[in-house]
């Protein structure tokens, strides 16, 4: 393994000699300097902060990902086309050492760039907060909701499968479903309907959410109730409402009256009083106090959450950057492996396709979750078989893409939501590391079998 370091050093040096890489660096510097000035915000400092983290840093990370793709593919494929690899491979070097030396160099460079971008963003945020004309209340709100790292607690999951199955059976029995319609699709539809119903409150109705708390509530500490509407379902309707905090055997320990409308995420700041102190579980009830037809819909996925604590924003951003670096490492592994098997243009194409497919993995997942396609009215068997085949292909693609699918942590950081150390650790060591090892294994195996310098 002694050859990894010299190859690593030389690769780093060669990257800075490549015109494409240098152009990308220049573009990145421009983005960092100019993009924030071009971002349109809602005029609030909170909006500006979120835009800054999510889009300015997000776009920088996209550019760095593109650069990762190029330099990783070019690291071996470029040496091959310039025939320098022929020289290298006649020395006392294992091909695995070349692979790892190249990968480490790419990862070092792009991680360094990612942290530089993160550092610039952090400094700019600090400057924005310090120079903004804010009242003490606004400063407190900013510190407690945005420039922080809040630990989210989601409501207990409600298992609706039994109810959905019963509804599906009733529908089939009533003859309301076409004969060939797959039952699993019907059950999925019923379950979705029930989940929306469980998160909707008509006038006078109450929706309960149960929470298990990670630690007993401490007297005098604060936590937040955060909720988000399903604007598409609600339309423009508004409704007066109230949030009740219940403890086992004790209803309405605290009550907060609100005026509900479908815009944005709402936050209620709760101070733990003597009644709440020590609680390890609570129930949150939303009461729709409208006397007319105003109906309130909360998002079915994380629509109502509790937020605890206020960790360091700096460390949160640091952990988010670490996760982004891990994603770049994964991308670099794909690029280096592709570059060690294919020529530079083909390697770039293959890596870009994998990257694009990965970004569409959500869509693929939805298609697969939709179940086996049902045979449609007057559809012939061949056409249906093709659909089933396509479905199976999607299933296969998802198997490949699933390990590569990682949610960007920037959205959470921009909302002041914690990217926990345990999550960072587990994603890094249980997700990135095994996948990188797997990709490197495949890459090194194929690279080792590859002939170098064959006549064209």
């Amino acid at each position: 393994m002694r050859s990894i370091f010299p190859i690593y050093k030389l690769t780093l040096r060669s990257i800075f000699r490549e015109r494409v890489a240098l152009s990308m660096l220049a573009l990145l510097a421009l983005v960092l300097l100019l993009l924030p000035a071009g971002l349109e915000t809602d005029g609030t400092i909170q909006g500006a902060l979120r835009m800054h983290i999510r889009y300015s840093l997000g776009f920088s990370s996209f550019l760095i990902a593109a650069m990762t793709l190029w330099v990783s593919c070019a690291s071996i494929a470029g040496d091959l086309s310039s025939k320098r690899l022929q020289m290298l491979l006649t020395k006392s070097v294992h091909r695995a050492e070349i692979w790892w030396g190249k990968w480490l160099a790419v990862v070092t460079l792009v991680s360094g760039l990612m942290f530089v971008c993160g550092g610039v963003t952090y400094l700019r945020i600090q400057q924005m907060v310090q120079t903004a004309a804010l009242s003490p209340e606004e400063k407190t709100e900013l510190a407690s909701q945005y420039i922080t790292a809040r630990r989210p607690v989601d409501a207990d999951y409600i298992d609706l499968s039994e109810e959905a199955n019963a509804m599906a059976d009733a529908q089939i029995e009533a003859g309301a479903v076409p004969e060939n319609f797959p039952r699993e699709n019907l059950v999925a539809q019923m379950e979705h309907y029930l989940r929306v119903s469980h998160n909707a409150a008509s006038a006078g109705q109450i929706i309960p959410y149960d929470f298990q708390l990670p630690n007993p509530l401490v007297l005098g500490s604060t936590f937040q109730i955060s909720y988000e509407y399903d604007g598409a379902s609600m339309g423009n309707s508004t409704a007066p409402g109230a949030w009740h905090i219940d403890l086992p055997g004790k209803e309405g320990v605290q009550v907060f009256e609100t005026e509900e409308n479908p815009y944005g995420t709402k936050v209620i700041e709760v101070t733990v009083d003597e009644a709440l102190a020590g609680a390890t579980a609570l129930t949150l009830r939303f009461e729709n106090r409208s006397e007319e037809s105003g109906r309130v819909f909360f998002k079915t996925d994380q629509g109502v959450r509790l937020f605890f604590g206020g960790g360091s924003f700096f460390l949160n951003l640091f952990r988010a950057l670490l996760l982004l670096c891990g994603m770049l490492g994964l991308l670099a592994a794909i690029g280096v492996s592709a570059g060690s098997v294919f020529s530079l243009p083909v390697a770039c194409y293959v890596s870009a396709v994998v990257l694009l497919m990965q970004s569409f993995s959500g869509t693929v997942e939805e298609v697969v979750a939709g179940g086996v396609p049902a045979i449609e009215h007057e559809e012939n068997q061949l056409s249906h078989s093709i659909k089933v085949f396509q479905y199976k292909v999607f299933q296969g693609v998802l198997v490949v893409l699933k390990p590569l699918e990682i949610e960007s942590p920037l959205g959470r950081v921009s909302k002041g939501v914690l990217v926990s150390p345990s999550e960072t650790f587990s994603v890094f060591f249980l997700r990135f590391a095994p996948v990188v090892l797997l990709i490197s294994g495949v890459g090194v195996f194929l690279f080792s079998r590859r002939e170098i310098g064959a006549a064209a």
Binding site: F5, L10, Q86, M87, L89, T90, S92, V93, E451, A455
Partner: protein, 315 residues
Amino acid sequence: MSEEPVVYTKDLQKIFKDFWRRPRARAVDGINLELHKGEVYGLLGPNGSGKSTTIKVLLGLLHPDGGEVKVLGKPPRDVAVKRKVGYLPEESYLYPYLDAKETLRFYATLFGLEGSMREKRIDELLEMVGLSHTGRRRVGEFSKGMARRIGLAQALINDPDLVILDEPTSGLDPLGTRQVKDIVRALAEKGKTVLLSSHLLADVEDVCERITILYGGKVQASGPIRELLQVANHLQITLKDLDEAHRVRLLDTLEEQLGQRPTLEPTRKDLESFFLEVVAQARRESGEGSGTRAEGQLAGFLTASAAEENRTDIE
């Protein structure tokens, strides 16, 4: 010879295939080679005859499709073998942004050479190939001849037992060509085996003991160069300072004894020797020029005793 050959191939075959794995060209077709320790061996042939392919198989870059191949007693892809092999490709594929020292330092590090021993070797090799004065100049700015020289130096950085040189004198001036040939001879004297591939037949003739001529991937001729070049039934007598009277008498006697009158021609120098004499004279008169400077003497660490010492250090 009882010793195991340094390079051994038997019925070596290499077939290039297309995308669909269909045979496209039979680049090497049943080549047998046997190179021994301390030998300078020439591989000759026109373009496309299979020389480079054979070399790439010996270096483990290409996989043989048939036959047997062993380098230093092992399969050529074994990294332990590569530790003892030096290679100069037909063009020096160097990193253009490194200077001469950095280039050698990089390759030396790949062989595990570190510290003062590495630096000493680098200095000696640069001195040997006449590039010690290039300073921080990047190899990308080097002339072709200078690139060949640095290429030769990198091929020797690991004090190899087997040196494979593909067109080592291409791009070199006659002075450089002579220096390379001197180095090759000196390497052989120190027990290194040299496999040399070249189009320049005079160079091969000067330094090689045995040669193989390839054409169409097959061996067309092979053996000691003196035997192969011997013209049947022709003899050559060389005499010095023969005056006219003795010359006539000699011809008369030979004619009388053999029944045929031989021809007499003055001995000529070859052009290379003449050129070198002229340059050496010019150098004596005008001092050193601005080009490369080397005398074709082997670097100190490549001499047998030093080599033993250094190899122990590497292992």
